[in-house]
């Protein structure tokens, strides 16, 4: 019975962790699916947003809604800056050049953030201050519930944007064939910029939920977000949005269970081992081409 309770509790924890990974992966995959290029500065743009919010919090003790808005706007500003500098100039050129350029901006954004707020750890106001919910023998933090709810809402809104709006038609056309899209009259550079803004907005929202759940922010948030987003995307198949969600949830479950049964030292090891095995055997879902 205790074994079963442990298993269920880990699964529940894994799901909420997985929801945050799924959200990070959605943002990362959106850019990868549309541009076929990896944006390494994805996480650092989120870090930039979170540090803007921390700064606003330290200066004016602003409320949560304002901090959420500042995180998202800060991430969008940093994300579109990355697009203009790293991706727009290499639109028809080398994918490696764009990726390396985005690595350079990673350093730049991280340096900028730590220059303004140099301590290694800052407190961030709590998303929810009440007690956790008890479900029989299981406990569920309200923050986790908010994270799960946010994941569902973002997935729904993203689906609606892609399949029910004019902008979504343009995005899917660019995913299918960028050359054909520009001949159909779609302003492809503008679509790229807007996709970056959307990706950064999803990343910023996720970053806000993560730091306010953890009630702290460190400069590691940038690297952590890029790595988790990329790992979850790769687990779910490169460039597929449903795959990103599945990959995020799978990564969360895997981490929660391996942390409990194998110890925290082996947590990341198990995730990277699985990725290594999957890349070696390449199951059919990992060769998906389309992001829609």
């Amino acid at each position: 019975m205790v074994l079963l309770t442990d298993f269920l509790q880990n699964t529940l924890d894994g799901l909420t962790l997985g929801a945050s990974y799924a959200l990070l992966a959605l943002g990362f995959t959106l850019v990868f699916g549309v541009l076929r290029r990896a944006n390494l500065s994805y996480g650092p743009a989120i870090l930039f947003g979170a540090y803007c919010a921390t700064w606003v919090y330290l200066k004016w003790s602003a409320g949560l809604l304002i901090l959420a808005a500042v995180t998202i706007i800060g991430s969008i500003v940093a994300g579109t800056y990355v697009e203009r500098l790293c991706f727009a100039p290499h639109r028809r050129g080398s994918a490696i050049a764009a990726m390396v350029a985005s690595f350079a901006l990673w350093m730049q954004l991280e340096e900028l953030a730590t220059l303004v707020l140099p301590k290694h750890l800052y407190a961030f106001p709590a998303l929810y201050e009440g007690p956790a919910l008890a479900l029989g023998a299981l406990t569920l933090r309200v923050e986790s519930l908010i994270m799960l709810g946010a994941a569902v809402i973002v997935c729904g809104l993203l689906w609606w944007t892609l399949y029910r709006t004019r902008f979504g038609t343009a995005v899917r056309a660019v995913i299918d064939d960028a050359s054909a899209a520009e001949l159909a009259g779609i302003d492809v550079p503008r679509v790229f910029l807007l996709v970056f803004a959307l990706s950064s907005a999803i990343g910023g929202l996720t970053g806000f939920l993560i730091v306010s759940s953890q009630e702290q922010v460190t400069p590691m948030l940038g690297m952590w977000s890029t790595l988790k987003g990329m790992l979850a995307m790769m687990l779910g198949g490169l460039g597929s949005l449903p795959g990103a969600i599945a990959g995020g949830i799978a990564l969360g479950l895997l981490e929660a269970h391996s942390q409990w049964y194998l110890g925290p030292q082996l947590r990341d090891f198990v995730a990277y081992l699985l990725l290594f095995v999957l890349l070696a055997i390449r199951p059919p879902w990992m060769s998906t081409r389309s992001a829609s």
Partner: protein, 234 residues
């Protein structure tokens, strides 16, 4: 209507177009002939804004289109049906048509109905993914998608490429129909026999230069061209 003047387009150091000048008269079907690698597709892509000319200019009516982005060329009134009919394979036929009308702010529903009237096969397959269509159907979809932007000038790059003879007949019937309905057409075609039946003016392009310009009659009279493009059938 379209005025290409001394256009030079290069891939790196290799000049694919070495100073091409030609004209497409309003209301005409103008056909560009030439061997593989002569620069036909390069010229189409240059006019459509995908490639930037290194020298020369492209005028459309009074407007200078030189160096504009492809989407700006579409809004100026030129649409290209590219070689190998690039449809959006993971989008439905209907969504492909909607994507073609991306620039339009007005209600384009009547145009979709008009396309379905002109291409009944597309109506049957409206909800189907474009990648599952046959080659001929994809070509019709590519033409219909280009028409959704209501172009004044339609560029077509080898619309008969790789299609069965009966489908080629159908494509040329559509070209003739579009022309009758007032669209000016600038066509690249290897199939000179089919092109002779519809086009009113011909250009021959060889090694990046225009080597012949004239009417179908003049084309058929030119001994060398006849041998190269029309075979011995005439």
């Amino acid at each position: 209507m379209l005025n290409v003047r001394d256009v030079v387009t290069a891939y790196g150091k290799i000049e694919a177009l070495k100073g091409v000048s030609l004209e497409v008269a309003p209301g005409s079907i103008t056909c560009l002939l030439g061997p593989n690698g002569a620069g036909k597709t390069t010229l189409m892509l240059t006019v459509a804004g995908v490639l930037r000319p290194r020298k020369g200019s492209i005028l459309f009516g009074e407007r200078d289109l030189t160096g504009l982005q492809p989407h700006a060329i579409v809004s100026a009134g030129i649409a290209l049906v590219p070689e190998n009919r690039l449809v959006f394979p993971h989008m439905t036929v209907l969504e492909n048509l909607q994507a073609g009308a991306y620039q339009r702010k007005d209600d384009f529903e009547p145009d979709i109905e008009a396309m379905f009237g002109r291409f009944p096969r597309l109506k049957e397959r409206a909800a189907q993914q474009a990648g599952t269509l046959s080659g001929g159907e994809q070509q019709m979809l590519a033409v219909a998608r280009a028409l959704m932007s209501r172009p004044k000038l339609l560029l077509m790059d080898e619309p008969s490429l790789g299609l069965a003879p009966l489908v080629v007949e159908e494509i040329f019937r559509i070209i003739a129909d579009l022309h009758r309905d007032g669209t000016t057409i600038f066509l690249v075609e290897q199939n000179a026999h089919m092109a002779l039946r519809v086009a009113s003016h011909f250009y021959l392009i060889e090694q990046g230069r225009v080597s012949f310009s004239g009417t179908p009659g003049a084309l058929a009279e030119d001994e060398l061209i006849r041998r190269a493009y029309l075979g011995s059938a005439h």
